[in-house]
Amino acid sequence: MKKILIVDDRPMRQKNQLGKDLFDKLCSLDNITRDFMLDVNKITSYDIVAIHYSLLDNSGQIKEIRDVLSKRGKCLILFSGGNPTNRIINGGREALVSSSLFYSKKTIDFFEQLQSVEINKHLLEKMLYGKNWKVAFLERYAQLLWVNGATMDKWPDMEDLTDDEIQVLNELEIEFGHKSFKEINEDINRILKI
């Protein structure tokens, strides 16, 4: 079971944005702890720490939180109402998301899933993209090939790739199999039902 800490300094925001039913569901989840204040000493006991951005921004603790969680391989979610652009940064360990996405059925359902299903990889992609999460990695796979000059059927010359690129490509190959640019594209279309 993955444990999640949600820190939001405005207590009513959760209820207002989720609505009563979803809020009740959030409150009923055993793996969720809700708090209105941030205690840095406690965050490492959670797998995912979600904090309202302005709370961290005001307290100037962003860097400290990032460092603490990053060292332990934990995920950080910073949610904010002001920015509609959902992004994953810091190598997949941190997500910047809108409050409306964070306080949504999709996210609550995902947290519920984390109660019973052991999910250890790609937590943030799964939270953000649900059943389409694989597309994020397949597109990355495709991009690595494309950037380095692959054709539809043929991988690029590995000598042209940097060490970092080779490492990422290896990881993707292990997880999704050795695929050509064309095959990746077909997989994506299959997932997206195109």
Partner: protein, 576 residues
């Protein structure tokens, strides 16, 4: 041909390292936010603002995403939308080419902004070969899109509204303060206040609203100089205004401080919203602020807490605070001006009545209004509303003054205050009658004429001779027109006698005699004040008996209250 290539090391290396040919002038820029760039719109606006400054490109090339890690966050679409929707950069009609391994239909399926890919002037290629790319570019039409194509783009794209701006309310809050500060007020020689709207004006959704509204209503400096409003509210000097709005820190506090400073008034801003997370605690804190400040005008927003957004209008915090401000047990004459963002669901006139507010001012929204004249009128309405509240605040002072005195529950005085609060010409007759009733009844109740010579306080502690010392001059109808009290002017008695003056005792009802005798000899008023009372009596008789509308206005009633009634009460209270 000048081409701008934007990337984050996620395009083929050849694109950024090789020569594109002599006929292509290529500028390459990296778009890479730092981890501290939480607001992507602000980041993009700053970056591209610099890139486009004094630069003109014929074509802009960019990938679908600028993320090094996550290609499906599609920040490239956001950047393209910013280019289209930021006219200040002068590239909103330029062709844009997306490059990447993605199929456009994949992007469209995953991004709510994907429709931009199918709008005019946008094309895409999956080639990772530089010669193929250059060949394709040479076949492209590099014409700018037309006005109708731009309209088509606007109709086609969907720009998500940030959840902070999930309501009309929040957009209006930032738009209106910017509109008033930058466009509506003519600051003249004064420095325009800095209201910090960068994050708002950088917001893609805001740019989208601006583009949808068109450029017809943009305000020029010339227009502002000619038509702009004075940043000052005349006639409120020395007044105290309290401002209660959880959006005060979005520029309103700065703007209003400047306006009230110019007007010679004090502005007190409630600024503890962040200290009180709980709605009830917040309401209590604001109510304490209200009671401490004794303001002439409370500028009050209605939605002051997150929790208000899922409540019925009667339950929202603004209503509760308004009810406290107008609480009859404290002071029902305190003046509230509702200053809130518009909400089409609510009938504001109904709200004003329900709350007992003096007036309301709506913060305009770009979604509802773009006319500069409407904006100007909105600001002038604001000034009028504040002035009206400050003008009426004397009634609040009357209630404070009466509080704790034996007159606190006086029906005629309270009735007068309630009528005056209506601030309507229709109640002026009643006000004139009411103030007369107070004096007549009070004097009748407390004083007696005895043995045709003296006036006596009924409690027996004071008596004064008035026979021969109070004289009236009457008109042909024998209505009293003038009074003279001669205690200190005995030498003029003869003169006045022969000139039509009569002894007060001749007054048929004795009431005028009693009133004037009391006013002059007990309360210490001089002849002009006594004559004013008689003037009021005459006016009361005229409006009550002849049914005409009084010529008196609220200002005259106020002066009467201040000069006569206040002094009667003071004398009575000091004698207690």
């Amino acid at each position: 041909m000048r081409i701008l290539l934007l990337h984050n090391n996620n395009v083929p290396f050849s694109f950024i390292s090789e020569n594109w040919g002599d006929d292509i002038d290529l500028e390459i820029e990296i778009i890479k936010p730092s981890t501290d760039d939480n607001d992507y719109d602000v980041f993009v606006s700053q970056q591209l603002g610099t890139i486009f400054s004094n630069n003109t490109f014929d074509l802009i090339i960019l990938p679908y995403s600028f993320s090094e890690y996550n290609p499906i966050e599609y920040t490239g679409l956001i950047v393209a939308a910013h280019i289209r929707l930021t006219p200040e950069w002068n590239h909103s009609r330029k062709p844009i080419l997306f490059v990447g391994p993605e199929e456009t239909k994949q992007v469209a399926k995953l991004s709510e902004m994907g429709s931009i890919l199918f709008s005019p002037g946008i094309c895409s290629t999956r080639t990772n070969s530089l010669p193929n790319l250059i060949g394709g570019i040479k076949e492209l039409s590099l014409e700018e899109i037309t006005d109708s194509e731009f309209s088509e783009f606007l109709n086609r794209i969907q720009i998500p509204r940030p959840s902070n701006y999930a309501t009309h309310h929040s957009i209006a809050n930032e738009w209106a303060v910017m509109r008033w500060t930058n466009d509506v007020i003519n600051w003249g020689e004064q420095e325009m206040p800095i209201i910090g709207t960068k994050s708002f004006t950088s917001m893609l959704y805001f740019k989208y609203l601006m583009a949808k509204a068109g450029s017809g209503e943009k305000v020029s400096e010339k227009w502002k100089k000619k038509n702009g409003a004075d940043p000052k509210i005349n006639g409120i000097s020395g007044k105290r205004v309290a401002y209660i709005d959880d959006e005060y820190d979005k520029g309103w506090g700065v703007l209003l401080s400047k306006i009230f400073e110019n007007s010679g008034a004090e502005l007190h801003i409630y600024d503890k919203f962040k200290e009180y997370k709980d709605r009830e605690d917040l309401i209590t804190s604001i109510n304490d602020f209200v009671d401490d400040i004794d303001a002439d005008c409370f500028l009050l927003d209605l939605r002051l807490h997150d929790d208000d957004f899922d409540r019925t209008k009667d339950e929202i915090s603004g209503h509760k605070i308004a009810a406290h401000i107008k609480d009859p047990k404290i002071n029902r004459a305190r003046q509230v001006v509702i200053f809130s963002a518009s909400d089409k669901v609510w009938n504001m006139k109904e709200e004003v009545q329900k709350i007992g507010a003096t007036d309301y001012v709506l913060k305009e929204s770009p979604e509802a209004n773009f006319s500069k004249i409407d904006s100007l009128n909105g600001f002038n309405e604001f000034k009028k509303a504040v002035k009206k509240a400050c003008d009426l605040s004397y009634l609040k002072d009357y209630i404070n003054f009466l509080k704790g005195t034996t007159f606190e529950k006086s029906f005629p005085l309270n009735n007068y205050i309630d009528l005056a609060l209506l601030n309507s010409k229709n109640v002026l007759n009643s006000c004139v009658i009411g103030l007369n009733v107070f004096i007549e009844d009070y004097v009748e109740d407390k004083f007696a004429l005895i043995d045709s010579l003296n006036i006596q306080k009924k409690d027996g502690k004071w008596k004064s001779k008035i026979f021969g010392l109070v004289k009236f001059k009457k008109d042909i109808n024998r209505d009293i027109k003038e009074v003279v009290c001669t205690r200190t002017l005995s030498e003029s008695i003869n003169y006045k006698k022969i000139d039509g003056w009569e002894d007060a005792i001749i007054d048929e009802t004795h009431r005028s005699t009693k009133i004037v005798g009391a006013l002059f000899y007990y309360y210490g008023f001089r002849n002009p004040e006594c004559n004013r009372v008689l003037e009021f009596r005459a006016e009361r008789n005229s409006v009550a008996h002849e049914g005409r509308s009084t010529n008196f206005d609220f200002e005259k009633l106020k002066l009467f209250f201040d000069d006569i009634i206040v002094n009667i009460i003071k004398k009575e209270e000091s004698a207690k």
